[in-house]
Symmetry: D2
Subunit: 395 residues, 4 copies
């Protein structure tokens, strides 16, 4: 039974299925965080005299029980129940009777989902941060092993100047460090508690929002109730932007490795256990994981675009369209975490062919050196450049 129904199944079954969509599976991810905000809310209700001490205790026990069940994949949300909020209230009511029926006093699902989802995102961002650190360590190891090997640097996909693998490692490290700064900002941004704002216009009862924030683990209170709703999708899109930045780096690293491990280059070799084969051509060893990673950037990117397009041209306040902002974020976190892990595996499995790298260091890579020599001897740069260039034209 849905929270807003007074008799079961008043809603057309097809409409129910269409509106619930994938929520009954996505919300599984949300359940533990929903329990956390519900726990904080229960404490508020106790503080306000709506729940007795023993009622609170029972609720705490049951909510922790749900969290445990959820961790083991045993807490089910029925399609008929719409979402995690309903499933939790129904469970509490089934177990505790009227105590469960008390839990939704002075709150709305509109604030509840935002609170739960932000807690989820905070944790996922911390997970991403950790994986980035791991990847940086992996790159540092690679640099220790291979950093001094020289190879051509390419501009316009054309040999430009001498480079080395240390330089290649450094861009990844620095870029990932910058990504961590963006993560820090977005973590700060979303660490605002929406609880106590009702459906987006406050409540006709005074609730202690600082208390709610503290008990649910938020750093600050998001003051404006209208903003709690209007920031939905907006915050999510900033999270997705940060994930696209990380995936962009992985897209480029993948592109580099795919090219460098191509026969015509041969700078890198990939270990057998990370390559796949062809169903038809027995000689093939394909870098599928890197291609999927390259492609996954576009998946995360399209999620960002989906949210940013979805939330536009709408007036203030909650719209059910916002429900569709959950899946892109959940999926993007999953993809980004997996991709970071896989990239570590791949980096670990790269072999470097020093001979092939150095063999490609042809003399034209040092054309600038010739120019600078003349500059050092006093020739204006542009004249020196044109003089050297003339020699190349002759060839």
């Amino acid at each position: 039974m849905k929270l807003w129904e007074i008799k079961k199944s008043s809603l057309n079954k097809k409409i129910e299925e269409y509106t619930v969509g994938e929520d009954s599976t996505i919300d599984n991810v949300i359940v533990p965080y929903d329990c956390m905000v519900t726990l904080a809310h229960a404490k508020l209700l106790y503080k306000m005299g709506i729940l007795s001490k023993s009622e609170l205790k029972k609720l705490v026990v049951e909510l922790k029980g749900i969290m445990k069940l959820s961790k083991r994949g045993l807490f089910k949300i029925e399609k008929e129940e719409e979402d995690s909020h309903t499933a939790i209230e129904n469970y509490l009511t089934a177990r505790l009777g009227s105590i469960g029926k008390k839990i939704h006093a002075f709150r709305s699902r509109n604030e509840q989902i935002i609170g739960a989802f932000r807690l989820f995102c905070k944790e996922e961002l911390a997970n991403i941060e950790k994986l980035i650190n791991d990847l940086i360590d992996e790159i540092k190891n690679f640099k220790i092993k291979y950093g001094k090997i020289k190879l051509p640097g390419y501009t316009h996909t054309r040999k430009a100047m001498e480079s080395n693998l240390g330089m290649w490692c450094d861009w990844i490290i620095e870029s990932m460090e910058d990504n961590k700064k963006l993560i820090a900002t977005v973590k700060e941004l979303i660490d605002q508690c929406p609880l106590g704002t009702g459906a987006g216009f406050g409540l006709p009862v005074k609730v202690d929002r600082n208390f709610l924030a503290k008990k649910s683990g938020f750093k600050t209170v998001q003051k404006s109730p209208v903003y709690t709703q209007n920031s939905r999708g907006k915050f999510e899109s900033t999270i997705l932007h940060v994930l696209t930045q990380i995936m962009f780096d992985l897209n480029k690293i993948s592109s580099d490795i795919i090219l460098f491990s191509l026969d015509n280059f041969g700078y890198f070799s990939l270990s057998n256990d990370i390559c796949t084969g062809s169903s038809m051509m027995p000689h093939k060893r394909n870098p599928d994981a890197l291609e999927i990673m390259r492609g996954n950037y576009h998946k995360v990117l399209s999620y960002e675009f989906q949210i940013k397009s979805l939330i536009s041209n709408l007036i203030s306040g909650y719209h059910r369209d916002f429900q569709l902002t959950k899946k892109p974020v959940v999926e993007a976190f999953k993809i980004t975490k997996n991709s970071l892990e896989i990239m570590m595996l791949i980096i670990r499995g790269i072999g470097v062919n020093k001979t092939k790298c150095e063999q490609d260091l042809t003399s034209d890579l040092y054309s600038v050196n010739k120019v600078y020599k003349k500059v050092m001897e006093g020739k204006p740069f542009r004249e020196a450049y044109r003089k050297v260039k003339k020699d190349y034209e002759k060839v």
Copy 2:
């Protein structure tokens, strides 16, 4: 065991999971179509003397068996098997021994998936066409009932001129008719048989491609083997474009109904069984299905963008990135079909409040009539316009 493996599980488990991704579930949709192209291929192999008559017969039986199992959800693709192609070959080999091992002669998975996927898309496009016709019928019924009711026409979200519900019905009908023309084009476009092109560069053995096309139900042969691969994603993006056009209309119809059924308008009312409620505010009756439909436009749109971005900046030939083009199409078909069905339900459940519609036909909606009266009397239009406008300014 994968088709390209010579010993089981040579691939790192994490890499396997990352590259296979959601294919083991998505490919369930593909299985019957994969059987169809495999059936055509088996006939070719018989024609070429690779399979005997009795071997062909056995294969036909088993492939039809797979199709039946698949329809009942009983044909499973293991993660370890990567895709439907592997699952089918493994199944055939398990049942028929060396006959199964013969089936992949003179073909590649690269052509096989394109063939199977196009057959799937052809059928889905036909399904969409049918649903559009049903929706048009529904709108025609609505027009018969309510078409003559007058209400304001809005430009700039401002009352402009008198309109009527018949006009509102007509745009939907005409737009959906245009959508059908686009469907016809894309059906024609993808009705090109990729079979017999190998991995994208033809085969070292001559195969009768016209025979393959005929047996697998394609209208023409897609001649260039390179183009079969390079059109992957490209064709898919055209399919998605057509689906966004349909979803765009549904997005606008939803926007219209949401506004017209808002208290401040009251032109439309929505039946109870298509409205959802609030967990907190007992008076609410919300048009969630329409909001989800509005939002689903952006989902389909982001799928189109994902594919168009994904396939860019890559050289000719197959890339594993292309695997990611399947899910967006499968999902977009599902969303579009569901949305068309739901829209029919909603249209059927709309009530029209004639009084409220007519009540809003205020005199300013007829300002043009005043101007045209003067024009008919011989006054140049712009003078007549400015004269009438002056009266409005005074107000």
Copy 3:
């Protein structure tokens, strides 16, 4: 003075500038087509007795005059005039007095811009078609010269099987032929006359819409007045989709040429006059035009998504937001035309290094041949495959 003003400059200057935006320059492109629909409209007004024969004659002369001025870049639209419609009416009124003031009877700018813009698009689509044919001819010439040269075919950016430049030419030709089919569909789609629909809800005066369609050169009448407005952006997005398909092919051709002309490949060489240099490294010869072309795909793609996102979540009827749909289309046509022309130039300037192509035809490209030989001798394919693969593993 704007058409809707009764005294000059009633609008805040900053608001004027913001709303007009780039229209005063973009609309220069529209002027001739605006004259065409205005010409058709003048004939209607004559038919309806609003204009006398001599008045019509004078209007015809002046409108043709504007078209000539416009062709020579001498017809100016002032910011203060908002758009081409205003500039034309103001010009006619300045030259012909009250005759000019009569021209806007029984029409709205909402239909006028759609009519003019569609005529513009029809012509541009024809231009694109012609350029595609020219490119196909260029590719055919290239094929005659180099088609038989063999080189490796790549899958997963890895050497797969023997290919040849003829195959490379064929995919471009076939893909461009398919693009032409899409152009034909979109030309048909937009060949619907919006004239006579007023602001989107018809007119309080009966006008002969078939007459208008015939005189302005449209194939059919777009019947529903609401649909004329609701198809705005929708039709534009279909045009842009078709342009992205063309640009996608150019993106891929560019990617191919950039890689094949890279030192490590050396299959292609680019003539000096299509390469640019570096300000610093005298040896560099960069394929900038190809990189810009690759990038321009994304520009056109983003235009498509701009329109598709812009027009969403809005109710039926005209919105000023639609003004922003003009520039993306005008720009995308320009980019696509230029890109097709440049691609011809580049193809003409490619040299092929037969030795380098053939040198890369290493034995592994023929691994399938080994497998098929065994198949021909009666071995089941999968066994043959695994046997041959074992040999490669040993290496």
Copy 4:
């Protein structure tokens, strides 16, 4: 003459035009910042003994001269010159002979454009920040005037609960404050000096990068030369993300005002000088500026996706494709600045109709109060909710 040419016009004219594109106009914006980085570079060359004190002095004078000319729109970049870098060097050489020819020693245009562009972006971000503060002030004034007026709060575009204009003001203020935090992060992110990194692989001569950073006004040195190039587009996309966040708020404010000033609501009225009219319907007063602003969100959004799609699937190092990242950023800054200014104007011109606002505060907006009353009396919330809901169902 281009910097890399040894004789004039060696490049095909059409290729030249295609590759230069809009750079000769966009780069006008860059000229002053290009002078700044060139100034820093000149000081480095003096420090390194390449320029004498008097040569440096002359360069300083000329560069400051260019900045002045540029401010007055008098410094021209010829198409033939490609970009601001070439125009500046050519100008310096024309005025100072061989001193000008010395300026490009030990640097590349690849680093120069990044340095100049980041300086430009830093200034634009500061401008945006200031305008946000101005808008916040404007909203605060509006709140003082109208904040206490009550009106319905909407969820699902349905009347939900009592709200007031103060709440509406607060969300804008808080959201804009959050936007400022994002601006601070991106300002920090891009405040990294790319100078001294050459074409992306360092220089064969040691240069003092800390000196360059200090002299050009950057906070830190971006260490990895490869990262300077690989962060191009990446940093730009973060800037654009921040601008979309601001534009998103403006999109929502516009949507709110358009609806609230619609006849059927009448909460807001818009002053005459910010409304436009219809060429046909004399009674119309349209909120065009708000519609354009709503639309401009999508323009900025599409710019973000253009860059994010453009830079993907490419290997490390500079590609000419990056040139196309400039215009989206320049345009997006312009649109965002204009939009913020226009929003201030509009807010200032809003009138509030208190009667209409309060008139819509119907009793159902207080359904929650009824429920909470029962809760306060001891009834479990869900029971209270269902009891009150039953009364609404009866109606």
